[in-house]
């Protein structure tokens, strides 16, 4: 009996110990934000999740406001909440903004909790690449340029030539795939063999009696996308970016003739 009493007493004492357990850290990090600022789209979209809420209980409205500010101009855009249903049947909040983003801009997106003011932020700087020609090697038919300030991964690079024939002042444009090189020095060097690429555009056909076609300009085009999403401060997730670019390639006059008069037939 004494042993039983001791056991019960110990159990009662132990049970009287506090059992409070709250492993959550309130507002240490507020929101999860995922998405891409896309220069090709007129409307931007971000998925925003409240870290403080149960994952599978999505309220009709997220208790948060989302705004973005373009830091160069100071222009602020309010994003609006929308609710989507996933294939799993769960719901999710997608915030939308009628916002065009362009190279060289920097956007700061802020998600602020309605009560308490906890905020998660992410700042996306869109690159403004530039193109510069390399001194041409007289023995090489390739024209090489350095592209600087990409800040990301170049997708589907294209060199677009503008040509004009004497009889056609407006002239057509001829796209040709660039051949990326990665020389020592680190910068991307799209090199294009003028002969090969221009021949690919048979539209240059015809150095007829109305005169030879001439190259009027060349542009380096493509889409630059972020290597990795920009991490969210005081939150989790990441926001990527994608911007189309179209940059004139300055070229020396001698390369014009060499490029422009390749294929007569």
């Amino acid at each position: 009996m004494r042993a039983a009493a001791v056991l019960l007493l110990l159990a009662a004492l132990a049970s009287a110990c506090d059992t409070a357990f709250d492993p959550r850290v309130e507002d240490a990090e507020a929101f999860a934000v995922f998405g891409t600022l896309d220069g090709r789209a007129a409307t931007q979209r971000l998925r925003v999740q409240d870290l403080a809420a149960p994952l599978f209980e999505t309220p009709d409205r997220l208790p948060a406001t989302v705004t973005s500010t373009e830091l160069t101009t100071g222009q602020t855009t309010a994003w609006r909440d929308s609710l989507v249903t996933l294939v799993t049947g769960d719901r999710a909040h997608v915030f939308l903004a009628a916002l065009a983003v362009a190279p060289g801009e920097t956007h700061r997106v802020e998600v602020v909790r309605a009560a308490g003011g906890a905020r998660s932020t992410v700042t996306i700087a869109l690159p403004a690449p530039s193109v510069a020609p390399r001194p041409q090697d007289s023995t090489d038919t390739a024209v090489q340029v350095d592209v600087a300030g990409l800040g990301g991964r170049l997708v589907d690079p294209v060199v677009r030539y503008g040509v004009r024939r004497p009889a056609d002042a407006a002239g057509p444009s001829v796209p040709a795939a660039a051949v990326p090189h990665a020389p020592a020095g680190g910068l991307l060097v799209p090199a294009f063999l003028a002969t090969a690429e221009v021949r690919a555009g048979a539209i240059l056909y015809g150095s007829a009696e109305d005169g030879d076609a001439v190259l009027t300009d060349a542009r380096f085009e493509g889409v630059v996308v972020s290597e990795a999403p920009q991490p969210v401060a005081n939150g989790v997730g990441g926001v990527a970016w994608a911007v189309p670019i179209s940059i004139p390639i300055p070229f020396a006059s001698e390369s014009v003739t060499r490029v422009g008069f390749i294929d007569g037939r």
Binding site: L10, F34, L55, V236
Partner: protein
């Protein structure tokens, strides 16, 4: 190695018997089942009253060599059996093989136990030996009992919760424990519902639990060894038992296939706790079942052949989030054992096969599957040299692994291992025994293909006191990877250690004292230190190689008198892991643990109780949960419809907080009645009597706390044929 060989040569030369002397070899076995009685005390008294003693080995074997011709009194005692005495007349040069049958002493079990408790047995350091009486004394949710109940009250064994079946021993991870059933390795010996293993108490003959410092004959794990011997069936009559409770229904059957020589024992259980939980309003979404069979044959007086098979299945949801886990463990093996005075040796030859498969389907994430299969064999040879024993053995195993963390990416591996061990049990006189040994283990396909693991154990009996010490090196090339960050995830993928990581290694050192203090009281204390290097653990999908140190002390005390037994155990531990994340205490660290249990019997009634008090466990605070859409963003998928795995965001301070302490009191009352040809036991039990809300884990996906078992009443019935 050279030193060991020299020692063995010296032993063989110096301690060999003279031609005129006699040898006595034998096996102590249960008179009814022919099961070996491991640990039986065999005393030989000569005409002058001089006593020589031996402790029977795991197969009940013993040997006396170099005896002077003459008459002897042979007395054999063991817990749970009536003492046996006989007189022997040994002639000069005689070699005799002897089979000793001990009659069970069920009617006077307690008295025998008290006697045995007073006479300290010589056991190895770090070892706790569980017998059926120990398991029967603990309150469980059904009257059939279970091996797990006996393990869970050990001071150095902690569990992550009463769900999941994950046991940690003295700072090791749950997959660092070697569990053998009749020599067959079992990858998943426990059911998801805590308190239940694949083995009901009724099929367990003994379980040796080495919490550290085990001898060279065991290898391949670094935290503990649980060496379970299955019971053998009755050789002369058909018997059986049936159990029904709100947790499970089960049956056991024993049949003499060849009366007197061959028996079969079979057991099957199936859980019903899911349905009972519904009735009680407690979410217990588990189903499990297990089956055990053992065929045992006595070939002659000192030779046996046995075959064992085991199957265990689980399906369940550990928390509330609907993530399903399934497991299936299958195993089979056979063993031949013989001891013979003609060779002055004992041999055992065994072969085994074991397979484990598991699946886990987390909410919103791909199905994971894992499978491991091993087969192999052992040859063991024991040579008796005077009072000394030299044990050696060789083992070879092959492993096949297959796992997939997503259905379309399946990894398959295979590897083989071989090992050789030698250890000598040296009786140095004056109660001092020394057991030096060495194990050589090789994994030809691994980056670190071989290891030499020296071990040494010592014990010194001083009257009613015994001092013990052990030290050794242990290595584990086959690892089970379980996400340690989330106790709700018990998915385990077994594999070889990645070649880029070091092989997990532990160095154990322990020293202890145990004494019989009189009046039925015995006590003990054991301190240990484990230096851990290269622990391969998985946290948040990242493999870490961790070093660590475990330091602890365990105190035990027991009281026995007829009709009453009480045990108290306390363990204090300091466990620190260190890796590139810094220093931290892993989730199975428990600074303090106290267990009290006891059983009192009066007539047909008995009351048992078990109290567990344990420090809170380390955990990492949670920021929240979200669907990780990172991959969708990287691949440029439309964000409106993107899906990703549910992910928990933790704070950077890993395991910086502790859960509230764990406390649980279980009570059981049994009433036993004899009915014609059988014994019926009605058990009423209440688990977690005080209905304490013990934290199991935090379901971050639902922002809900998940507690362990609440107050759970059961009423069970067991009928055993007599």
């Amino acid at each position: 190695m050279t030193r060991t060989a020299l020692l063995l040569a010296l032993l063989a030369l110096g301690a060999g018997p003279a031609r005129a002397q006699a040898d006595l070899f034998g096996v102590v076995a249960d008179a009814e089942t022919a099961a070996p009685v491991a640990g039986a005390t065999v005393a030989l008294v000569d005409a002058a009253g001089a006593v020589q003693g031996r402790a029977a080995g795991t197969e009940g074997q013993f040997a006396f060599r170099g005896l002077a011709p003459g008459r002897y009194l042979l007395r054999v005692t063991a817990i749970g059996y009536r003492p046996s005495s006989d007189t022997l007349a040994l002639a000069a040069g005689e070699r005799r093989d002897l089979a000793i049958g001990l009659a069970p002493a069920t009617a006077t079990l307690d008295a025998v136990e008290v006697e045995a408790a007073e006479a300290l047995t010589i056991r190895e350091p770090g070892l706790a030996r569980l017998r059926p009486a120990d398991l029967a004394a603990l309150p469980t949710a059904d009257p059939g009992g279970d091996l797990a109940a006996g393990l869970l009250v050990q001071p150095g064994i902690t569990t992550l919760g009463d769900r999941g079946g994950q046991l940690s021993v003295r700072g090791g991870t749950p997959t660092q424990n070697l569990v053998l059933v009749d020599g067959i390795p079992i990858f998943q010996p426990f059911h998801l519902l805590g308190g239940y293993s694949a083995l009901p108490a009724g099929v367990v003959r003994s379980a040796d639990v080495y919490a550290g410092g085990w001898p060279a004959r065991f290898g391949g794990r670094i935290a503990s060894v649980v060496d379970v011997a299955g019971r053998t069936g009755h050789k002369r009559r058909v018997g059986g038992a049936a159990t029904a409770s709100p947790v499970l229904v089960g049956a056991e059957l024993e049949v003499p296939v060849v009366p007197g020589d061959v028996s079969l024992l079979a057991s099957a259980r199936r859980s019903v706790v899911e349905d009972a939980g519904d009735v009680l309003g407690i979410a217990l979404p588990y189903r499990f079942s297990d089956g055990f069979g053992k065929l045992h044959a006595r070939l002659d007086a000192t030779s046996t052949l046995q075959a064992t098979a085991l199957v265990s299945t689980d399906a369940g949801d550990l928390g509330l989030d609907g993530s399903r886990v399934t497991t299936r463990q299958e195993a089979a093996g056979g063993q031949f054992f013989s001891i013979s005075s003609a060779f002055a040796a004992a041999i055992d030859v065994s072969a085994y096969w074991s397979r484990f498969e598991t699946t886990f389907e987390p909410v919103g994430a791909p199905l994971r599957t894992a499978e491991v299969e091993t087969f192999g064999g052992r040859f063991g040879y024991v040579y008796y040299v005077g009072r000394h024993t030299v044990r050696t053995g060789i083992q070879a195993s092959s492993y096949l692994f297959q796992y997939a963390f997503r259905p379309d990416v399946v990894t398959e591996q295979n590897t083989s291992e071989g090992s050789v061990f030698v250890d000598a049990d040296l009786d140095l006189g004056r109660g001092l025994r020394l057991e030096p040994g060495v194990r050589f283990q090789t994994f030809p396909a691994q980056a670190q293909p071989s290891s030499v693991e020296p071990r040494v154990l010592a014990s010194w009996v001083l009257g009613r006191q015994v001092l013990r010490a052990a030290a050794g090196v242990y290595r584990q090339e086959i690892v089970g990877l379980t996400n340690q960050a989330d106790v709700g995830d018990v998915f385990t993928a077994w594999t070889t250690v990645p070649t880029s990581l070091p092989v997990p290694t532990a160095v154990h050192g322990l020293v202890g004292w145990e004494g019989a203090l009189g009046a039925g009281v015995r006590a003990g204390v054991e301190g240990y230190r484990k230096r851990l290097t290269g622990q391969t653990i998985l946290i948040d999908g990242r493999l870490r190689s961790t070093n660590g140190e475990a330091l602890g002390v365990e105190v035990t005390a027991g009281y026995r008198r007829p009709g009453l037994r009480v045990d108290a155990r306390y363990g204090a531990q300091s466990l620190t892991y260190r890796d590139d994340a810094g220093a931290y205490q892993p989730p199975f660290h428990r600074p303090h643990r106290l267990t009290l249990d006891g059983r009192a019997e009066r007539g047909a009634l008995s009351v048992s109780a078990a109290l567990q008090l344990t420090s809170g466990r380390p955990y990492t605070r949670v920021v929240g949960a979200y669907l990780d859409l990172g991959e969708a963003v990287a691949r440029g998928l439309p964000i409106e419809t993107a899906l990703g795995p549910p992910t928990t965001q933790f704070v950077d301070d890993a395991y910086g907080e502790r859960t509230p302490p764990y406390a649980r009191l279980d009570l059981a009352v049994e009433w036993a009645a004899r009915i014609p040809g059988a014994r019926a036991v009605v058990q009423a039990a209440v688990l977690n009597v005080t209905d304490r809300a013990n934290v199991f884990y935090y379901d971050a996906l639902r922002a809900e706390r998940v507690d362990q078992l609440p107050l759970f009443p059961t009423l069970g019935l067991r009928i055993e044929t007599e």
